[in-house]
């Protein structure tokens, strides 16, 4: 093999290796995003009563965005998700952190068993988790409601207008707390033993060690899990969609994603649905970015 031939082979190789991935990535990520943005700026006008005289498309400027943002239910669904996130994400991350610290403390017995148990729900699809929990929420079927009735004479309403959001929060927390815990545990294990050694020599107790050594060092894991949770919150779909059939408090625009789905498939208005999808992604980006900025600033 001559030197020239070898160098062209080296030049070609990365493209052969990355090519298939890149092609599929362009097809399934980049192209849909371009299509969505294009659709969101397009308007479809149907001539005649049922569009029988042909369909014309035109550039709509921000018309679809105006329609999306003037839809009070859609905007309300975004606010609802913000409220949900402000409560559910911190509760879940704090719970995951506490569980991880307890599991990694010398005081825990059978840490392997508990870790596997907490992680188990992550393998259960959101749809199936929701079916499971909905059976525990529905009056007449729920043993939890039976239990509180006999013990305290109190009938909780898990599916009412004021409570169903938190019943959904419970399902989400149940599914993802163990997964987030595992990410934190992985980072806790990466802390070099000498750090603990030094803390002990300095006379730090378990609280002090957790606060001054472990928490600062697992910070990247906490930031990562929080950002993924924020993105996940704005995508909420399966849980409310399934609970709709048992809870009258959930309408077809309860979450932003449900709203976009309804607009697309119930109203067949793909252009406004595209605008809604773009808005959801933008809000997710903005919140992730804001959070990363805040955490970066406070670390300096």
């Amino acid at each position: 093999m001559t030197a020239k031939k070898a160098s062209t082979a080296v030049g070609r190789a990365p493209w052969i290796l990355v090519g298939p991935f890149l092609l599929l990535f362009l097809l399934t990520f980049v192209l849909p995003i371009i299509v969505a943005i294009g659709q969101s700026f397009t308007t479809v006008t149907r001539a005649g009563l049922f569009g029988e005289q042909g369909v014309t498309t035109g550039f709509a400027w921000f018309e679809n965005y105006r329609i999306a943002l003037e839809d009070g239910n859609f905007v309300a669904s975004i606010w609802r998700m913000l409220l949900f996130g402000v409560v559910q994400v911190p509760v879940m991350i704090v719970a995951a952190t506490v569980l991880a610290l307890l599991l990694e403390s010398a005081s825990a017995r059978w840490p392997g068993f508990f870790r596997a148990t907490y992680f188990l729900p992550y393998g259960i699809p959101g749809v199936i988790a929701t079916i499971l929990w909905s059976f525990l929420y529905v009056p007449g079927l729920s043993p939890i409601i039976d239990l509180t009735e006999t013990l305290f004479g109190f009938t909780p309403d898990f599916l009412g207008a004021g409570t169903v959001l938190w019943s959904i929060a419970n399902i989400v927390t149940w599914t993802y707390a163990g997964y987030n815990m595992l990410i934190i545990v992985a980072q806790l294990k990466a802390i070099p033993p000498e750090m603990y050694e030094a803390a002990r020599v300095d006379g730090a107790g378990p609280w002090r060690t957790a606060w001054s050594i472990q928490l600062p060092l697992i910070r990247p894991a906490l930031v990562l899990t929080t950002v993924f949770s924020i993105i996940g919150t704005l995508q909420l779909f399966a849980e409310p969609q399934l609970l709709m059939s048992v809870s009258p408090a959930i309408d077809s625009q309860y979450t932003p994603n449900l709203s976009a789905y309804t607009t697309a498939f119930a109203y067949n208005d793909y252009n406004v649905a595209a605008a809604q999808s773009v808005l959801i992604a933008l809000v997710a980006f903005a919140l992730s970015f804001l959070f990363l900025r805040l955490t970066n600033r406070s670390s300096r």
Partner: protein, 305 residues
């Protein structure tokens, strides 16, 4: 970052390193009881729904509504219920299950291979457009999956791919997160001098990747594969948007279909609880067995961010 990765790599099984626990000091019995007690109570929370479905799947519909949900009923109908699940509609449940295995298995395998090849190429070659590709894919990690599902449906409709196996399979072949992880891992572990040595021995570039690269990257590939499998298996929005033919449904869509019929036809309660039980068992076993493999890769992803 690189230092953290190599620490994680050196320690093959960090669980059993006692010095890694913050204590190292003697256990105090009172604290042990308290901590283990708290962990046990939390474990009950995570297990209650699973326990409930085991009990519920053993009941007839009458018992399901008439007896205490946390204990077995008067009848023991578990095997009748499971038989009903497996035979209903000419064994459509088995078909859904097989579809899920197909989507997750094939999707997971190919996605892992493509992510490995791409990540390796970016880590081990200097070429034009390399940073652009990396930036683009990194952006892809943060794009909400559901945001692309709707436009993807419009695109696939025009290509005549909507409502086919391909419509769910093709998007499952791409894992931006896996690509990202493979690049970091290949950067840290695949030694450039080793690649050079193989070149001098006359090995072709693709052969070096397949024999050397893939073998060294195996721990990261296991993580990527598991992530992708769970991601595809749990996906609901994409198949919901894409598929209308029940024969193509994955298990999530199928069970949702049964569940939505319970308010009109109560016998679907037995089918739904039995079906949920059957679909949870393999996943629960897989999670418990595979839980050990998740650690290494997760650290790297976490440390980088």
């Amino acid at each position: 970052m690189t230092a953290a990765v190599s620490t994680a790599l050196q320690r093959t099984d960090p669980t059993d390193v006692p010095a890694a626990t913050p204590g190292g000091r003697r256990r105090r019995p009172a604290t042990t009881i308290l901590v283990t007690g708290i962990l046990a109570v939390v474990a009950i929370y995570f297990l209650v729904p699973v326990y409930w479905v085991v009990v519920a799947a053993s009941k007839t519909t009458d018992d399901l509504f008439g007896t205490n949900g946390f204990w077995f009923g008067n009848s023991f109908a578990l095997f009748d219920n499971l038989a009903a699940v497996l035979t209903y509609g000419n064994g459509v449940f088995i078909r859904w299950f097989a579809n899920s295995v197909l989507y997750a298995g094939v999707g997971g395998l190919i996605a892992t291979y493509l992510a490995a090849a791409g990540g390796y190429a970016l880590a081990k070659y200097q070429f034009r457009g390399r940073n652009l590709i990396f930036g683009l894919v990194l952006g892809g990690v943060l794009v909400p999956g559901t945001a692309t599902a709707l436009p993807l449906f419009l695109l696939f409709s025009q290509l005549g791919l909507a409502n086919t196996y391909w419509s769910v399979l093709i998007p499952s072949l791409v894992s931006p997160f896996g690509f990202f992880l493979c690049r970091i891992y290949a950067d840290a572990t695949v030694d450039t001098s080793l690649v050079e040595a193989a070149r001098i021995d006359g090995a072709g570039e693709l052969r070096i990747f397949h024999t050397l690269g893939l073998r060294i990257m195996t721990p990261a590939l296991v993580t990527v594969f598991l992530f992708q499998i769970v991601g595809i298996w749990n996906n609901y929005f994409l198949p919901l948007v894409m598929l209308s033919d029940q024969d193509l449904y994955p298990i999530t869509l199928g069970l949702n279909n049964w569940n939505s019929q319970t308010d009109r036809l109560p016998e679907f309660y037995e089918l739904t609880t039995g079906g949920v039980l059957l679909s949870v068992i393999p996943l629960a076993v897989a999670m418990i067995v595979l839980q050990r493999f998740w650690r290494g890769g997760l650290t790297e992803g976490a440390v980088k961010a």
